[in-house]
Symmetry: C2
Subunit: 245 residues, 2 copies
């Protein structure tokens, strides 16, 4: 058996998220179906760096799997891409050490969140950016964002459904930049809790629109209460950009 | 009754083209449905600059309609956008002269055709650009494109189903430029026959990949036979960009 590390991109629009669910079209199930075909029906399970929710996209999701097949790497990529639907694409596949684990070995992740700031609603970005044409004070957002940098208990910034006990995470970077009519936020950290990027994003929008002051960010962190933070920004603006190993 | 000129953008992916067809989701039927709602059920017919096929997009389609309602222009735009599905967006609406006609008054049109030249298949452009990663000689394409400029009989470059008798059209410009991993072709002319841009595009690709010589373009025009030209490039790479009045 050889272990492989595979990097993929997907358009999350038509998926019920990453993880296998009965009778739902998910990224994991489509990939396992494609691998099953390549293995003449043998079931091949994959393990990703983490899940993504319905509508959430990926530019660099990573998973690992094991296979008894002896196929040269370029053929792996071609073969898998030929079997996959056109909203998932294999970007890279490489041999991995037998103890490599896509989730446990990840030392950091980068997400990006796309806002559409177009004056007119743009049909082409409806599934790829959150349309937010309202006034925003970028200086205030920048100030608020800085208060998340570092190591904090992010209980207030994760879904109440989060099952993990340890809610301490380190955020290394939150930056944003303009590209055409998009405002793109970059989040880099050692790991993110369930819905964490989307709740921070929603809270930054409340700061930028004057509903919360930047200083409140610290109070919200201290409260350790999901109810204290802002709304969860929609999934379709979010991209899992890169997994660091 | 007041006549209005309306400019819209749409993502053609989920439409069976522009024109009303029974039991199909079309751009015209969605707009007429939205206008019907604004007129409390009264049927309002629209007339566009021309049809677009299934999967074809628009950045600046234009239509006209008449209405008995006295609504200020900004409210027309807001009202219509609120009633329309999110894959159609009103960009502009203005009052028009009572004899304005979106189709007959058009003096020219601009289309653009998007090729994806990405090394890896990109899930995000699968509906918005024709994935063509194969080698292309850009100089040869430029040479071939020049032979279409001017006034010609385009019988060889329109669908055999074309019903109009006069197949003489004038192409003013065919240019292309690179943007990220896209190669974007711009076609400007006084009017285009059914499938004409897509057939010229398909034929330019055959020139660029060495299957046809640039000089053959003139022979194909002379033959007045659809069978002499190249394949019809897929609809999802095509955008009706602008209508000139």
């Amino acid at each position: 058996m050889q272990k492989y590390k595979c990097t993929i991109s997907y358009d999350g629009t038509l998926f019920s998220g990453y993880q296998v669910q009965p009778n739902k079209r998910t990224i994991q199930s489509e990939i396992e179906k494609a691998l099953g075909k390549m293995h003449k029906g043998q079931e091949i399970k994959i393990t990703a760096s983490g899940r993504t929710d319905a509508g959430v996209h990926a530019k660099g999701q990573v998973f690992h799997f094991q296979s008894p097949l002896a196929i040269p790497l370029p053929n792996w990529e071609k073969g898998l891409n030929a079997m996959l639907p056109d909203d998932i694409s294999v970007l890279d596949i490489e041999q991995a050490a037998s103890d490599f684990h896509a989730r446990f070995d990840a030392v950091g992740k980068e997400y990006r969140y796309f806002l559409s700031r177009a004056e007119k609603r743009d049909p082409f970005s409806r599934n790829y950016a959150y349309y937010y044409p309202f006034p925003l004070n970028y200086d205030v957002i920048r100030e608020a964002a800085q208060l998340f940098i570092g190591t904090h208990d992010f209980t207030s910034f994760c879904s109440a459904k989060t099952e993990v006990v340890d809610k301490i995470r380190t955020i290394r970077e939150i930056e944003f930049y303009e590209e055409d009519d998009k405002l793109i936020f970059k989040f880099v950290g050692n790991g993110f809790l369930y819905n964490m990027v989307r709740i921070i994003m929603g809270t930054l929008l409340e700061a930028g629109s004057g509903k919360k002051s930047p200083a409140e960010m610290r109070d919200i962190l201290d409260k350790k209460d999901r109810g204290a933070a802002g709304k969860t920004a929609p999934g379709h603006g979010l991209y899992l950009w890169k997994v660091h190993y």
